[in-house]
């Protein structure tokens, strides 16, 4: 809670890691040193940094089986890292422009990447090669999502259309002229029937994937460009963020906003958030005010036992309790440079992986965990 910027990340540490050719390996000694440094602090400390990209890392995606981490970068490459050792596994080449998003399909075998070269590529991770190139968009592809079966892919593009692709043969099943401004994010619900799109025109729309019909349009009273959107796990709500530093929790069936998170800063980038299991942070009950009075509503269960990791453009992560909106922790500071902004935050078990407009991917772990492991003789 009380962390400050100067403790993270230490420059000499970075130097050491760079010397080791991008592979992050820390000596026992160094780890101990680091742990000793952070031992006294609560909150999160940097566990390691993944080097390798040359430009900003736009997306970090953890495979469904939690074994691999895929990172996509503006330099046009995808790098796959092992989620166990945080070593670089391989690099996938193929796009000749930057990549905006990378997503794993169910089964952890296939990846899809959306690129500025107006194509989407499907990669076979086992063969380490691209198996499909989906062409058709006339401008950058900004966002993609698989359906749960992995048979369909929905892509949103700056050409203001949403395309639904059949992955079996790589054909475009449907083209939806969805919005009047670039589409910045698409998301498929957990059952694969609904698809939500967010656009810079300030509207979020919900589509029926099968028929291509627009089922609902979520409009906010003030038309602010949206930056991201995602279905919640339980399919009841839609999290929509806009460039007015707000994340709204929409109950899209009843067409009303259940909750607004606005403690972060988000005015320029499309940043993606993630959930973080609350088990990893012991709940500090004294710090919480009574949460019954403020929100006596039904959105209690939308994220069960989870905190929301909300990235902020100043480089911090706000770990927020979604039911009370209380910031549990904001000790993670991705970069010292005020210019660099966060783009993505992903959780991987107890770890939090952040990436931003700098070419580094940083992995954070709760300090408590590190110190505990030190006592247990833990070595990565």
């Amino acid at each position: 809670m009380d962390s400050t910027a100067q403790q993270f990340p230490l420059n000499h540490d970075l130097q050491v890691q760079k010397d080791q050719k991008g592979v992050v390996e820390e000596d026992e000694e160094q780890i101990h040193k680091r742990i000793r440094n952070y031992e006294s602090h609560s909150g999160f400390s940097e566990y390691c940094t993944l080097f390798g990209h040359e430009k900003s890392v736009t997306c970090v995606s953890v495979s469904p089986n939690k074994r691999w981490i895929a990172t996509s970068s503006s330099d046009g490459t995808i790098k796959i890292w092992s989620a166990l050792t945080f070593r670089l596994e391989c690099t996938l080449f193929g796009h000749y422009r930057g990549i905006s998003q990378v997503k794993w399909a169910t089964g952890s075998k296939y990846l899809a990447s959306a690129s500025d070269d107006k194509t989407i590529r499907i990669w076979d991770f086992e063969k380490r090669c691209s198996v499909r190139c989906l062409k058709g968009h006339t401008n950058y592809v900004s966002s993609i999502d698989f359906n749960p079966l992995g048979t369909l892919l929905v892509s949103g593009s700056w050409d203001e259309t949403v395309r639904i692709w059949n992955l079996q043969d790589g054909t475009c099943l449907r083209m939806l002229p969805a919005h009047s401004e670039p589409i910045i994010s698409v998301s498929i619900s957990a059952d694969g029937t609904l698809c939500a799109t967010a656009s810079y025109d300030g509207m979020a729309r919900i589509w029926d994937v099968l028929s291509g019909q627009c089922l609902k349009t979520l409009v906010e009273p003030i038309n602010v460009p949206l930056s991201n959107l995602q279905f919640t796990e339980n399919r009841k709500y839609l999290l929509v963020s806009n460039l007015n530093s707000q994340i709204r929790l929409w109950d899209y069936r009843r067409n009303r906003v259940v909750r607004i998170f606005d403690s972060h800063v988000n005015t320029r980038y499309s940043m993606s958030w993630d959930c973080y299991s609350s088990k990893n942070i012991p709940k500090n009950t004294e710090a919480l005010p009574n949460n019954d009075s403020s929100y006596p509503d039904d959105a209690e269960s939308f994220m069960h036992d989870a905190y929301l990791l909300i990235p902020s453009e100043d480089g911090t992560i706000q770990i927020t309790d979604p039911s009370t909106k209380i910031i549990i922790d904001d000790s993670i500071r991705h970069s010292d440079d005020p210019e660099t902004s966060l783009l993505n935050v992903t959780s991987l078990g107890p770890f939090i992986i952040t990436s931003g407009t700098d070419p580094y991917v940083r992995v954070w772990a709760p300090s408590l965990l590190l110190s505990k492991h030190e006592k247990d003789g833990f070595s990565p």
């Binding site: 991008g22 997306c59 690099t91 080449f93 422009r97 930057g98 500025d116 198996v131 203001e160 810079y200």
Partner: protein
């Protein structure tokens, strides 16, 4: 007492209960009824008693509804009480017994059917215990748990409705069955019948078997050979003795193929030495398929002969290909409605050991023998191929070269000797060759052509093109384990390779040793398609760059088979024989060389195989390692760029590749970029200046930060949007080009007429318009509105409209300026974004927002096809829209809104080339 009895016997009838006297003659005689007393017993009388409703006597009563409004009952209601525990008597039947069910009907079908009468509780379809088939008997009980009466009712209905119903072809008989006894009985009866039948059947079977055996014995005794009698083409007297049936068949055969003789159709003993197709006897019933049918069936194929015996028909072939073709074409086809299955038999390598019996019978080999056979075949093929290759590639050229350069006679002899040896003793060839070659270093230039890896050439590749063969050789040069070893211990394998594979001596040998290892490493690296960050990779990297020059040299040598490699020059490399295989990339490699060359080269850029590099395919350049198709070609982009240094080289190259077909590569610069970046990503070269991503054609705006996501939010101007949005704003441009391109003859005539009559019109446009307005008031143009590419809705012409024709009048409310101002504000507040106000003059405005015609849908365009004019008709000013040019069917109508200049601009989306960008 006495009196009493006497009176009773005489006058009084016997007093019995339930009697009523209807007529007593003592009370007064009626002539027609006689003198007998008429009784009624139990309500039944002799002349049938007609009970009439006394109420019917009342005429008003019979007429119908009384004042109370409730109709009188026509008959008295009977009261039914539900059966319950208090009811007397047995409970009503709730079971039905269904018989005469077709055996094909399943219980599910029955249940489904009887569900329509009521809830079926239990459905017991009786089955034959021996066969499991339905006996056609079924007991259905309806669900009486909730209410017995309902169940009884449904049972009753079922009997009423389902009895006699044709169900699957047989009329059902449905009977109420109170306790299932009927069903039981019927079932028992059926069981008995079935059992009896079963016993009979078994008896019969036994009898048949006995008969069969005896007949078979007879048959075998009678037969002189293996051939079945009906297949026996010769008119042997023995076949006749085999009974009438067979006799007739034989007759049949003989009638159809009378010319056949036994020697022709007899299966030869050495049938296994033929390539033949076997039609198994099982698939050709002898009484339906005859020799001639088979012959007819196979008439289109060049078979050698058709034999037959009791195993079936044997169709022999001269060559393998024809046989396999035939097999593919005719397997599982129909002969005389019989589906035949062919069995393919190739000549086995083994000599017959099993004697006569196996010669005829052995069609299917046991697996071990099959394997052995297959391996032996493969081995033999390999040997042959190897021999051929050795002859043609190594020894042949060597001899020629040798003869050319006047070698020492002793060497020549040695060579020939070796040749002889190698040709005679097949399996020892590789060793021999190696030894020969080992002795050969003294031969001038010979060593350059020796590539030991050729020896591993597989037999299959002989049919392939030279190119493919070369590629194959590279991949298969060494076994995989060897490559793997090399990967981890490259220096050791280097030495090894020197010893084992390379047969030349001196510096070049060492060089080539390195090359060999590199090559194999590369091909090994080909499998994982990613840049490995392991340490080995680094090693390779260094290693590769070190030996790069030598590699190039090696490649050159390999290309140049015929010329002496020592003195090879650029020109010789580009000689046609050498250039053809590599031409594909060779030409395109030029792309990065001097600019003026690029275009020329492109003109003759040869067509390369579009395989892995096809973007629509499954594999892409980025994913590919070093061995992209041009790998065959030895010289890649950089190599050619290096080679072609001046115009002379270039012209040679052009000449060499004259014959090559052109390849379709979309953007040469992009193509070159792809190749280069691919090479770079595989770590072969540094990312040179030559590999610059060319600007793509068409719209592309590149983000400074690399990707759209990291770029953040920015607004795309609407004018820029029209460049990449396919659906937007292109209508006007397209249609204009269309309309100019297809001017019909009719349009020409119209133009001519217009020219003839157009003078005065041009002089007095206003009056002419007026005339036209009046004249054309009656005839309206066919228009319709629909989604427009310019802005929301638009108006489209549904017919061709000539120039200067009136299109439509702009109709709306005529209001004053102040009202208009007010309304405009209101509209903005209401959210009506579009303006439908048309100014006629200072103070008069036509408002078509709420009241108006479809003319308000006409959009603005900076290059309009219509023009709006204000004309006076009968003292009123009207806005009329005229065609400014000829308008084709389907074109959107536009005119220039001519908005006054304002501070806040409204963007124009007309998409015309001369678009001003704003409406105002």
């Amino acid at each position: 007492m006495d009196f009493n009895t006497s009176t009773r016997s005489k006058s009084q009838p016997v007093q019995r209960n339930n009697y009523k006297v209807l007529y007593d003659p003592e009370l007064g005689i009626k002539e027609n009824l006689g003198r007998k007393i008429i009784y009624r017993f139990n309500g039944v009388s002799k002349p049938p008693l007609v009970v009439r409703d006394p109420r019917l006597k009342n005429p008003i009563y019979a007429r119908g509804i009384p004042k109370s409004g409730r109709p009188f009952l026509k008959s008295l209601q009977t009261i039914n009480y539900d059966y319950n525990e208090n009811s007397l008597g047995p409970e009503p039947p709730t079971q039905v017994f269904v018989s005469n069910i077709s055996p094909l009907v399943t219980s599910e079908q029955l249940r489904y059917h009887f569900k329509s009468f009521g809830e079926v509780f239990d459905l017991d379809l009786k089955l034959n215990p021996y066969t499991g088939t339905s006996l056609g008997l079924c007991c259905i009980s309806f669900d009486k748990r909730s209410s017995i009466s309902v169940a009884a009712h449904s049972a009753k209905i079922a009997v009423q409705q389902a009895n006699g119903l044709r169900f699957s072809g047989k009329p059902l008989s449905v009977v109420l069955d109170r306790d299932g006894s009927l069903c039981e009985e019927a079932f028992k009866k059926a069981l008995n019948a079935v059992e009896k039948q079963f016993q009979e059947e078994t008896l019969q079977k036994q009898r048949f078997e006995r008969e069969d055996e005896s007949s078979r014995q007879k048959l075998s005794a009678a037969m002189n050979e293996d051939i079945p009698p009906w297949r026996q083409p010769s008119k042997n007297s023995q076949t006749l003795s085999n009974g009438d049936l067979q006799h007739s068949k034989v007759q049949n055969v003989d009638q159809k193929s009378g010319f056949l003789t036994s020697s022709e159709t007899d299966v030869p003993k050495n049938i296994n030495d033929y390539i033949y197709l076997l039609i198994d006897d099982r698939f050709v019933p002898p009484d339906r398929v005859y020799y001639t049918d088979i012959k007819h069936h196979f008439r289109k194929f060049l078979y050698e002969k058709i034999y037959m015996n009791k195993d079936g028909f044997y169709i022999t072939f001269n060559n393998y290909r024809e046989a396999s073709n035939c097999y593919r074409a005719l397997d599982r086809t129909y002969v005389q409605n019989c589906r035949i299955k062919l069995k393919f038999h190739d000549i086995p390598s083994r000599t017959k050991e099993d004697g006569k019996k196996s010669a005829v019978r052995r069609v299917v080999l046991p697996p071990e023998e099959a394997y052995a056979e297959a391996t032996s075949v493969v081995l033999r093929d390999l040997e042959a191929a190897l021999l051929r290759d050795v002859k043609s590639k190594i020894i042949g050229p060597a001899i020629f070269k040798y003869l050319h350069s006047m070698p020492k006679p002793s060497v020549k002899e040695e060579l020939q000797e070796n040749l002889l040896v190698s040709s005679t003793s097949v399996p020892d060839v590789p060793l021999k060759i190696e030894s020969t070659v080992g002795k050969l270093p003294s031969l001038p230039k010979f060593k350059k052509r020796v590539d030991s890896s050729k020896m591993n050439l597989s037999a299959g590749s002989k049919t392939k093109s030279k190119l493919q063969r070369r590629r194959r050789r590279r991949h298969e040069a060494r076994p995989l384990h060897y490559q793997l070893n090399q990967m981890y211990n490259s220096s050791a394998s280097e030495a090894e390779s020197d010893q084992e594979l390379l047969l030349s001596s001196g510096d070049e040998r060492v060089e080539r040793g390195k090359i060999g290892s590199i090559k194999s490493v590369k091909s090994d690296e080909a499998t994982p398609v990613f840049s490995d960050t392991s340490d080995e990779n680094d090693k390779f990297h260094r290693f590769r760059t070190k030996s790069k020059i030598s590699k190039k040299k090696y490649e050159k040598m390999e290309v140049d088979y015929t010329s002496s490699s020592e003195t090879e020059s650029d020109a010789s490399i580009l000689s046609p024989s050498a250039a053809i295989p590599k031409s594909g990339s060779a030409i395109k490699d030029e792309l990065i060389s001097p600019k003026k060359e690029i275009d020329e080269v492109l003109a003759l850029a040869p067509k390369w195989r579009i395989n892995e590099f096809d973007e629509t395919g499954s594999v892409y350049y980025g994913a590919l390692p070093y061995n992209y198709p041009e790998d065959d070609v030895l010289l890649d982009l950089d190599g050619l760029q290096y080679l072609v240094k001046n115009d002379e080289d270039y012209s040679y190259l052009q000449e060499a590749l004259k014959d090559e077909p052109l390849m379709d590569i979309n953007d040469p610069n992009f193509w070159a970029y792809e190749r280069k970046s691919c090479k770079f990503k595989n770590g072969d070269v540094k990312y040179g200046d030559t590999a610059i991503l060319p600007e793509p054609k068409g719209y592309f705006r590149s983000n400074t930060s690399g990707s759209a996501k990291s770029e953040g939010y920015y607004i795309i101007p609407t004018t820029e949007k029209s460049l990449y949005l396919p659906l937007r704003n292109r209508s006007t441009i397209d249609t204009i080009s269309h309309s100019t391109s297809r001017i019909t003859s009719r349009m020409n005539r119209v133009n001519n007429r217009r020219l003839a009559a157009g003078v005065e019109k041009s002089q007095l446009p206003a009056e002419a318009d007026l005339l036209r307005f009046n004249a054309l008031k009656a005839r309206k143009k066919q228009l319709h509105f629909g989604p427009s590419r310019i802005h929301t809705l638009g108006l489209f012409a549904m017919e061709n409209i000539d120039k200067n024709d009136m299109v439509i009048e702009y109709i709306g409310e005529i209001i004053r300026q102040r009202v208009a101002d007010n309304r405009e504000k209101n509209y903005v507040r209401e959210g009506i974004g579009d303006s439908y106000l048309f100014r006629i003059d200072e103070d008069v405005i036509v408002d078509a927002t709420k009241k108006g015609n479809i003319a308000r849908f006409i959009n603005h365009s900076c290059a309009p096809n219509c023009i709006a004019r204000i004309i006076r008709v009968e003292g009123k000013r009207k806005i009329v829209i005229y065609a400014d040019r000829d308008i084709m069917h389907g074109e959107e109508l536009t005119y220039d809104y001519k908005f006054p200049e304002e501070a806040d601009k409204i963007p124009c989306l007309c998409g015309a080339p001369t678009c001003r960008g704003y409406l105002n």
